[in-house]
């Protein structure tokens, strides 16, 4: 008769960038069940809407996560703009796209570096982060911040980009692309990366759909789901790009999708910088959010994020809710771990690119 052992895994673990805990039920080295626990960094950000007015909440939304901070702020503002019927100026929409896509570049490069580090490929980790540094420099130059930017607000933006900054961005894009070429070649062609990741964490398209996966997790299993294409928001409808998918449905496919999305983001930024319209960057919201609901979706680097706001005709919202991509990907993470070897758990958890700060809010 087999005996089961319960092994506590995390929250402090060398592979985990953020704290999540699993109780793993093992049969020898094989995991037969996994029970996740979250709650380490639950900050109650949603309830803060009862203390901060709807304009201030943009700052709170940005602080949900340090990696997708801009897109969190933008998602919140987009929900408020939908609720109050505000038309965001075209220039602000284009600038939001530029900063969003830089956020995607920065997030994917960070994740690729962490994955390389988890595989023991430290030079690849350092090179990925070296390229990422170029993007953080652009953030600093264009917004004044490297992590939290504070440039987005309901109705548009707080800060414009002058012609010199746009020129700098266009000048830096080929440099970033060259850096990406160097690391992409290793991620996509190197035998050791391929051997470590191919076939690991297989998730069929049917399982992916049933488990509610979003973002690169879904696209790596062949599902062409991308909110930027499916229901274009901001000005994404103005740009030409294809949804990146892979069909091998394993951890390597998740790497390949993210690497290819790096090039896609560069192309979108280039298109937005070339076509950047002139004009204002802010439409002033009039009055308070009405007693109604608004629901909006965006594509974060990790996948689809959902914002729900409910007004009550006062300066505070009655409810603010965020469903983050990692939250949607947790069922698949549990599913993958259940069939894995103990030694693969760290890497498997990492392949979904978990953001626990986002998930817990």
């Amino acid at each position: 008769m087999s005996e089961h052992t319960i092994v506590p895994f995390g929250p402090q673990h060398p592979v985990f960038p953020e704290p999540i805990h699993f109780d793993l039920k093992l049969e020898d080295e094989k995991i037969v069940d996994a029970f996740p626990s979250i709650g380490y960094i639950h900050r109650g950000l949603e309830i803060l809407t009862t203390e901060h007015d709807f304009m201030e909440m943009a700052y709170v939304a940005e602080r949900i996560c340090g990696i997708c901070s801009f897109i969190h702020g933008m998602g919140y503002c987009q929900a408020i703009e939908g609720l109050m019927g505000i038309d965001v100026p075209k220039r602000a929409q284009y600038l939001r796209v530029i900063w969003s896509e830089f956020s995607r570049l920065h997030s994917h490069l960070m994740w690729l570096g962490l994955l390389a580090d988890a595989m023991g490929f430290e030079s690849l980790f350092m090179h990925s982060w070296r390229v990422r540094e170029l993007i953080l420099d652009i953030f600093e130059e264009s917004t004044g911040g490297r992590v939290i930017f504070g440039v987005v607000k309901p109705g548009g933006l707080r800060r414009d980009m002058d012609a010199d900054m746009v020129k700098t961005i266009r000048k830096q894009l080929p440099v970033i692309k060259k850096g990406i070429d160097e690391v992409a070649k290793v991620f996509l062609k190197d035998t050791s990366v391929r051997l470590r990741l191919s076939g690991m964490g297989y998730l069929s398209p049917d399982e992916t759909r049933a488990l509610g996966c979003v973002g690169p997790m879904a696209r790596a299993s062949g599902l062409a789901m991308d909110t930027r294409k499916d229901s274009p928001y901001s000005s994404y409808g103005d740009f030409s790009f294809d949804v990146v998918t892979e069909n091998s449905c394993d951890s390597w496919a998740r790497v390949a999708v993210r690497v290819k999305e790096l090039y896609q983001s560069i192309s979108i930024i280039e298109q937005a910088a070339v076509g950047l319209p002139e004009g204002g960057i802010w439409t002033k919201p009039m009055g308070f959010p009405p007693a109604a609901d608004q629901y909006t979706r965006l594509e974060q680097p990790r996948g689809e994020v959902v914002y729900y706001v409910k007004g009550n005709a006062t300066k505070n919202l009655a409810r603010f809710r965020v469903r983050t991509p990692t939250f949607a990907n947790v069922p698949s993470m549990v599913h993958l771990i259940k069939r894995a070897e103990l030694a693969d758990v760290g890497l498997l958890v990492l392949t979904i690119d978990p953001c626990i700060s986002c998930t817990e809010r």
Binding site: S37, G39, A210, D293, R321
Partner: protein, 113 residues
Amino acid sequence: MTEYHTISPKSVLAMAHERREKGDRLVQMHCSHGEYWEVVYSFDGQEGFILIPDRPELTSISEYFPSAYLYENEISELFGIPVEGMSIDFKGRLYNPQRKAPFDLAGKGTSDV
């Protein structure tokens, strides 16, 4: 602004079955409360919402949408709405809301309930 279809808690399973048959994707579930308790189900196919007034006892839709169990555990733990028949029931251990400092060692200043 978003349009809702309001249904009763008893119709949740029939609604889930219908959505599953249509090939819709469960995007998210959440709970809010103002004058009433409301549970909102969002699906991809028609961007539809289903709202359940009052504080109901829910039936799990994880039979039709396996990913629903996580939302249902969250609603159950953070809003105290009981959900019957979840495919995975964490029994209050997802967020551990019954303990003030869930991951601190017991007896080290926590108020373990």
